[in-house]
């Protein structure tokens, strides 16, 4: 549904995207995960036809994003991070204006508006001014708005940033339903691990580069076994010591040493014994997407 080939983008001298290529299949929920400034927003602006890339090619539903922008815009619904709602208008007025932008009017538009509001549970708020709605409801109006012209692809920029966990889950549930019932392909950008974990497949972006690609499970399996985190006053020395004594790759970062190892609980007993007094606290967890990101880039996401 979306093919990105060798995409590179520069803002003047600064490289924002370097040779990014990936493919999103029809009906997938696909995530772009990375820290702010990693290139997600640039990629999002290019995909949503707001900006022309310096190099590379993107096709969306068979149309070239640069040369056939108008056709692409008919296939795509865009949910913005910053709100694209007019706060001085009601829910219904916002939707009507959006329909007009897509050339919809009359009975067709009324029917589509009704269906979109029903789908997102907004019917009882239709006459309310947008400024009186909660953050989660506003996001739902955004989604309803993006669906009016029945797009095949929904692009969501940081769709759940700024929402409380309950509202976040609610948005995710609606996105899931859209994919299931209407077969909409969804591409979302996020820096929230929990949200990324719910995607079918992910691309990890760091400093404009793709550092990894795969399902959340595949990505987590890149790390064998457990992750052990040891806090220490002198973490570089501890990391060096572990490397020497156990022959393991140990990374010192932010006053802690991270080690990936199967059967981490056994390692903990050994390492605490081997470096008495050097370790201030010990943690063990199953690999997370954050761990994958740290492993691939040496930096953290959040």
């Amino acid at each position: 549904m979306i093919e990105v080939e060798n995409l590179t983008h520069r803002y003047g001298e600064r490289l924002a995207l370097r040779n990014v290529s990936f493919e999103v299949k029809a009906g997938e929920i696909f995530g772009l995960l990375g820290p702010n400034g990693g290139g997600k927003s640039t990629l999002f602006r290019i995909l949503s036809t707001m900006m022309v890339p310096t190099e590379g090619k993107i096709t969306l539903a068979g149309y070239d994003v640069v040369r056939e922008a108008a056709a692409v815009r008919r296939q795509v619904g865009v949910v913005f991070q910053t709100q694209s709602l007019d706060k001085a208008l009601t829910v219904e007025e916002n939707l009507r204006a959006q329909g007009h932008l897509h050339g919809l009017s009359g009975a067709v538009l009324r029917e589509r508006m009704g269906a979109a509001m029903e789908r997102l549970g907004l019917l009882d708020r239709r006459k309310d001014l947008v400024e009186t709605l909660s953050g989660g409801l506003k996001r739902r109006v955004e989604i309803a708005k993006a669906l009016l012209h029945r797009p095949r692809v929904l692009l969501m920029d940081e769709a759940s940033t700024g929402l409380d966990p309950a509202a976040r889950l609610d948005v995710s549930r609606h996105v899931e339903l859209l994919r299931e019932q209407d077969g909409v392909t969804i591409l979302l950008t996020t820096h929230i691990l929990e949200e990324a974990g719910r995607c079918d497949r992910l691309v990890l972006l760091h400093e404009g580069r793709m550092v990894a690609e795969g399902s959340p499970k595949q990505l987590r399996e890149r790390i064998g076994g457990d992750v052990v985190v040891l806090e220490a006053a002198d973490s570089p020395a501890l990391a060096a010591g572990i490397q020497e004594k156990f022959g393991l790759a140990a990374h010192a970062q932010n006053g802690a040493v991270r080690v990936e190892i199967p059967n981490g609980h056994r390692f903990i007993a050994e390492v605490v014994e081997a470096f008495p007094g050097a370790i201030e606290s010990v943690g063990l967890h199953k690999p997370t997407l954050e761990d994958v990101f740290v492993k691939e880039t040496g930096a953290s996401i959040e």
Binding site: T54, T82, A88
Partner: protein, 246 residues
């Protein structure tokens, strides 16, 4: 056809609805030119002489304030969805400019209520050319606002533009002193100033003194500038960019 006029009409309507729901804005825009006018006009004992200038200032304030909203609007507002919709950018420009021009026009018409104080009497038949003239001025100044606002990254530079460009333009438009008494290079600037023609046009229609340049010249120049600014706005908005429009 529908995919051009429907988006344009919806943007136009949106401006009016928003305006109606924020009625305090009306007072804000009309109040300061009114105070200026009453102070300067009463102080110099000639309200009539400064009336057209004050009306143009009202229209200018309104036109500039509502076009400057483009900057915020496309960063985090409704214009974002416009930018990613199949509606042509030219439809967006037309809708926005006509919408803002209509608001500026309404506020200009409100200022017309004070005409009797200036010794101007407008009968019903005269209202048509007066209203048409004010709309033309509103349209032109909105075009000016759009061209300024479209390229601006943030509203931070806006005060500088207001104080260093727009208010000086207004000062040497014939609003404060007539072209006939202007000296040297200021007089040359007045000839080149689009606002000179707006003020002269109004003086002309209202039958007030200082209607130089002539009525027809003022009409033609104001309309030509308005259309040129509309075309420039359309061209600017339609440009593809490697920098985000938002």
């Amino acid at each position: 056809m529908n995919s051009f006029f429907l988006p344009a009409a919806t943007l136009w309507q949106r401006e009016l609805v928003r305006f109606w729901r924020q009625k305090s804005r009306v007072m804000g825009v009309v109040a300061s030119p009114l105070v200026f006018w009453l102070l300067i006009g009463s102080g110099s004992g000639d309200l009539g002489r400064f009336y057209a200038g004050a009306l143009v200032l009202t229209v200018m304030f309104s036109a500039i304030f509502s076009t400057i909203s483009i900057i915020e609007d496309r960063r985090e507002g409704f214009l974002l969805s416009m930018l990613v919709s199949p509606a042509p950018r030219t439809a967006m420009v037309l809708g926005k400019i006509l919408g803002s021009a209509t608001l500026a026009w309404i506020q200009g018409l409100l200022f017309l209520c004070f005409a009797p104080l200036a010794g101007v009497r407008i009968d019903l038949l005269q209202l048509i050319p007066v209203a048409a003239g004010i709309f033309l001025i509103a349209f032109t100044l909105t075009g000016l606002g759009f061209v300024i606002a479209w390229r601006m990254e943030s509203t931070a530079g806006f005060h500088a533009i207001m104080n260093l460009l727009l208010l000086p333009m207004w000062l040497v438009s014939g609003a404060m002193f007539p072209m006939a008494t202007a000296h040297g290079w200021v007089r040359a600037i007045m000839w080149a100033n689009p606002l000179t023609y707006s003020v002269a046009l109004l003086n002309h229609i209202l039958g007030l003194p200082n209607a130089t340049p002539g009525g027809l010249a003022s009409l033609v120049v104001t309309a030509a500038i308005g259309l040129a600014l509309l075309a420039a706005s359309g061209a600017m908005a339609a440009q593809k960019s490697t920098h985000s429009a938002a």
